[in-house]
């Protein structure tokens, strides 16, 4: 059997090496548009910030592919799939036949339509070549457009390199998709304490400069700078699938087995549209742990088992300097267009903050900063198990904290955390 994998990211690599680990004798080929062995995009900001050497970002070495008998075709960007002849064509004109095809080519940086975005000094921070360019770029004043997880991490990395950094966010608070304004406001103040300026509710109009970047103009001010980092989000790569006649929505549509609408073609990773494992709603959490789990399901299906994917988990952390925060499940904003009673449990102690979103008696999401974040796992567990908060309250009222054996310690810790007694 010939297995062809498009994309050498987290998902693609996991499928290829997972097949080998399971003892598959299939002929495995990976088509990579890039020129390196598999690396971890999550680790790029730490390489950029000088916290780890460049070699640490790699998840595999060249010899790993050789040892596993996996053919890695670098610089081969897939441009078309011909499902009839079971063949993928690349930009170089070569054709790669397959028996099973795995689409794991991820997404690409969303480049906003801003005038001057093609000037020298405007970089992404999504792929290794972006980070390499930024590493060589000797600037001193940077503007980061977008304040998602990548934007904040890039801002921290540049700050550590000695840049003066300004983050611009068009929404009213930083990390808008991950945190509620109450949590994000606290994070913003901490970001500013670290010397990073964060401008929210502000729109970038154009990037000025003759050839190289000289300033970023927003609807409120002009910020002189020599470096611009785009952290404006990731768009799932659907064109390759769409042109082949595969069903696509926001991402590539797949069934429970992660097979696309064309038999024999699977998809996993950032390019896939999937469901939230907790709510069953359509979701696209482009996060590493989901890519890995999807890749493992695809691997098992390629091996002939019938594995189904339960859905993606929303879990992310935000970390800069000595600030540690975590978010899971839905934000308040994401629950606002739904029916149901909403209860927000908030706790604050010094700089630490906890916010738990309870809908219809079940935890649906939450955010925490500092010490409260250390216990996030208990809250996440309760969310995944759909534990009833009123039932927890009733049990605590009836049994108190009692000695061992009355309630599991995790439940009691949870009750303590939510201060639900009585």
């Amino acid at each position: 059997m010939r297995v062809l994998i498009v994309g050498n990211g987290i998902a693609g690599g996991e499928v290829a090496f997972g097949l080998r680990r399971a003892g598959s004798g299939a002929e495995i080929t990976i088509l990579s548009a890039e020129t390196t062995p598999e690396y971890d995009p999550c680790s790029l900001p730490y390489y950029l910030g000088g916290e780890v050497p460049r070699e640490r970002v790699f998840r595999r070495r060249w010899e790993d592919y050789r040892a596993a008998g996996i053919r890695l075709e670098t610089g081969e960007k897939a441009v078309a799939i011909d499902p009839a002849s079971r063949c993928v064509r690349t930009a170089s004109g070569r054709e790669h036949p397959y028996d099973r095809l795995v689409l794991a080519h991820g997404g690409s940086l969303f480049v906003p339509p801003i005038a001057g975005i093609d000037k020298r000094g405007v970089h992404g921070c999504k792929q290794l070549p972006d980070a390499d360019l930024l590493d060589r770029h000797g600037g001193s004043r940077a503007v980061v457009i977008g304040s998602g997880a990548i934007g904040i991490e890039a801002a921290e990395a540049l700050k550590k390199r000695g840049y003066a950094v300004t983050v611009i966010e068009v929404m009213d608070w930083i990390l808008p998709a991950l945190f509620d304004p109450e949590t994000a406001g606290r994070l913003k103040r901490r970001l500013e304490r670290c010397g990073i300026a964060a401008l929210t509710g502000e729109k970038v109009l154009r990037i000025e400069g003759t050839e190289a970047v000289a300033a970023v103009v927003t609807d409120r001010r002009t910020i002189p700078c020599d470096t611009v980092v785009l952290a404006t989000g990731v768009v799932p790569g659907v064109e390759l699938a769409r042109t082949a006649g595969i069903d696509v929505g926001r991402g590539i549509r797949v069934n429970e087995r992660l097979e696309t609408s064309l038999p024999g073609i699977y998809a996993c990773g950032d390019c896939v549209e999937t469901v939230d494992a907790c709510t069953g709603e359509d979701a696209m959490f482009q996060l590493k742990h989901n890519a890995l789990e999807q890749a493992r399901v695809v691997t098992r299906n390629l091996l002939g088992a019938s594995a189904s994917y339960p859905g993606a988990w929303a879990f992310a952390r935000a970390h800069f300097f000595d600030t540690h925060a975590v978010t899971f499940g839905k934000t308040t904003r994401a629950t606002q267009c739904e029916l149901g009673d909403l209860e927000i449990v908030e706790r604050e102690a010094g700089d630490d903050y906890l916010r738990v979103i309870v809908k219809e008696g079940v935890i649906v999401g939450g955010q925490a900063i500092g010490r409260f974040a250390d216990a996030a796992g208990l809250l996440i567990g309760a969310m995944w198990r759909r534990e009833s908060v009123p039932a927890l309250r009733a049990r605590r009222a009836l049994l108190g904290d009692g000695p061992h054996g009355t309630l599991p310690w995790t439940t009691r810790r949870l009750g303590e955390l939510l201060e639900l007694a009585g």
Binding site: E51, R56, K288, H324, G377, I380, H404, W409, T410
Partner: protein, 170 residues
């Protein structure tokens, strides 16, 4: 290769003396500093008793998947440990852990978890230190849940079949 073992926690027996924390930090850092311990005794709310918390080395460990630096790895012994050279101290492993088990090292902010005393003689040290209370037990892999089930069933026996009651079917 070190023998594979697991550490079973019998929380009911924990008195909160924290000798395990001292033994762990002595074994791993050569200093009796509980804040460097990889096992942590959690005090539950008022008179709720104590629970020794340590990495369970989950079979499908979520920390392995969320670490941005791929610093969480499964060792030969079956333990899941943090590679200190790769860890950047983001605490993702701590946040995703259902027990909140990873400890944050005070000197560099990196996480550390129980390595089952990989190659220390007389190990695991926490188990040795807990001899008097017996809240920690070194068992073979897979044995912990079996023993937990057996003990739970034994605890239920007097409730389900009080002394002097007739046996089912007799």
């Amino acid at each position: 290769m070190a023998e594979r073992r697991e550490i079973r926690v019998i929380a009911e027996r924990c008195t909160g003396c924290r000798r395990c924390e001292i033994a762990c930090s002595m074994g791993h850092c050569g200093m009796p500093t509980p804040e460097r311990s990889r096992i942590r005794v959690l005090r539950l709310p008022p008179e709720g008793g104590h629970v020794p918390v340590l990495c369970q080395a989950c079979e499908d460990a979520p920390c392995l998947k969320v670490c941005p630096m791929n610093a969480r790895v499964r060792a030969e012994t079956g333990a899941v440990i943090t590679e200190a050279e790769a860890c950047i101290g983001c605490r993702a492993c701590l946040y995703i852990c259902p027990y909140g088990a990873p400890a944050v090292a005070p000197e560099d902010g990196k996480t550390v978890t129980c390595d089952r005393c990989a190659d220390l003689p007389g190990a695991p040290w926490c188990v040795a230190a807990c001899r008097d209370c017996g809240a920690l037990e070194a068992v073979c892999p897979g044995e912990a849940p079996r023993r937990a089930c057996r003990d739970a069933a034994a605890a239920l026996r007097p409730v389900l079949r009080p002394a002097g009651s007739r046996r089912c079917g007799s």
